[in-house]
Amino acid sequence: MDMKVTRKPARWPVPAELDGDDEALIAAIQGGLPLVPEPYAEIGRRIGLDEAEVIARLRRLQAAGVIKRLGVVVRHHELGYRANAMTVWDIPDHRVDSLGACMGRFDFVTLCYRRPRRLPDWPYNLFTMIHGRDRDEVLANIARLRRECGLDGIAHEVLFSRRRFKQRGAIYHAPEGGDA
């Protein structure tokens, strides 16, 4: 069985254009924002930019989508969200967009992505991550999704996580839950 897959997704997003100061700024805040009253002035001192320049560049990087968010990254487990299930669905191609949009509207769906099938072993093309305080809550949420989005007859599987082996602090847009 040759599982080597060389096909890339149809389109990778275009990288933003960054200059040297942007790169220095990205590197300077990567480890976290300083917990001082004027954090952007402090960052500027470290890389030789004044506060106004740091603020202008950060706003530009946010507007360009390079920085999705500047804030806290929580540990789900410590907030009491102890169960998570990657729930995968085999949806006819022409219905993926509409059903994906339906599922994505629910608060308990923390992410909802279309991915390629890997036939014959893996028939599922829509991945949803569902966090809950316990497994029962996760399963109840899945039942609600099936009911409200009309998913009867759509094959799906629920993959609960048992152990997390490795997590580096999410610096990139790769949410906890074994997904990206």
Binding site: M3, K4, P15, L35, V73, F165, I171, A180
Partner: protein, 150 residues
């Protein structure tokens, strides 16, 4: 689980939406939460120390920085699971790795600087383990919720 009081929860919920980009961002948020800048900074430090928060800073879109991600799955024989996990986790490109209850029991994310590196790293895993690696990059995002109620 660390005890969080009402102010801790308000801080976590508020800052998941993002810190303002302004001269006194903590003072602004403190005013919204009806506390002081000094208390907010002290609470944030404590939430980080207690590991309720993994980090406080930017969340980048690696793809906009020119990088790439892909979710990968493997069906690892039970007897080899720990050894294979060790091999996979040793790679710096593996961002996180979850064990899930399924024949496909190992799920990890590759994060690389260049899109071409995804297949190169997946090949390295195939070679090292002798097992298939199913690479499933995101094709379309219907939703990404960055916030969980504390």
């Amino acid at each position: 689980m660390p005890e969080l009081d009402a102010l801790d929860r308000a801080i976590v919920n508020r800052l998941q939406a993002g810190l303002p980009v302004s001269e006194r961002p903590y003072a602004e948020v403190a005013a919204e939460l009806e506390t002081s800048e000094a208390v907010l900074l002290e609470r944030l430090q404590r939430l980080l120390d207690e590991r309720v928060l993994t980090r406080f800073g930017p969340l980048y879109d690696a793809e906009r920085l020119g990088g790439a991600f892909a979710l990968c799955a493997m069906a690892v024989p039970e007897a080899r699971f720990d050894a294979v996990a060790e091999q996979v986790n040793a790679l710096p490109e593996v961002a996180h790795n979850y064990r899930r209850e399924h024949r496909f029991n190992m799920w990890f994310v590759l994060a690389t600087e260049q899109p071409d590196d995804i297949e190169r790293i997946a090949d390295a895993v195939r070679e090292q383990t002798g097992l298939p690696v199913y690479v499933m990059p995101k094709e379309r995002e219907y939703h990404l919720r960055l916030k969980l109620e504390a």
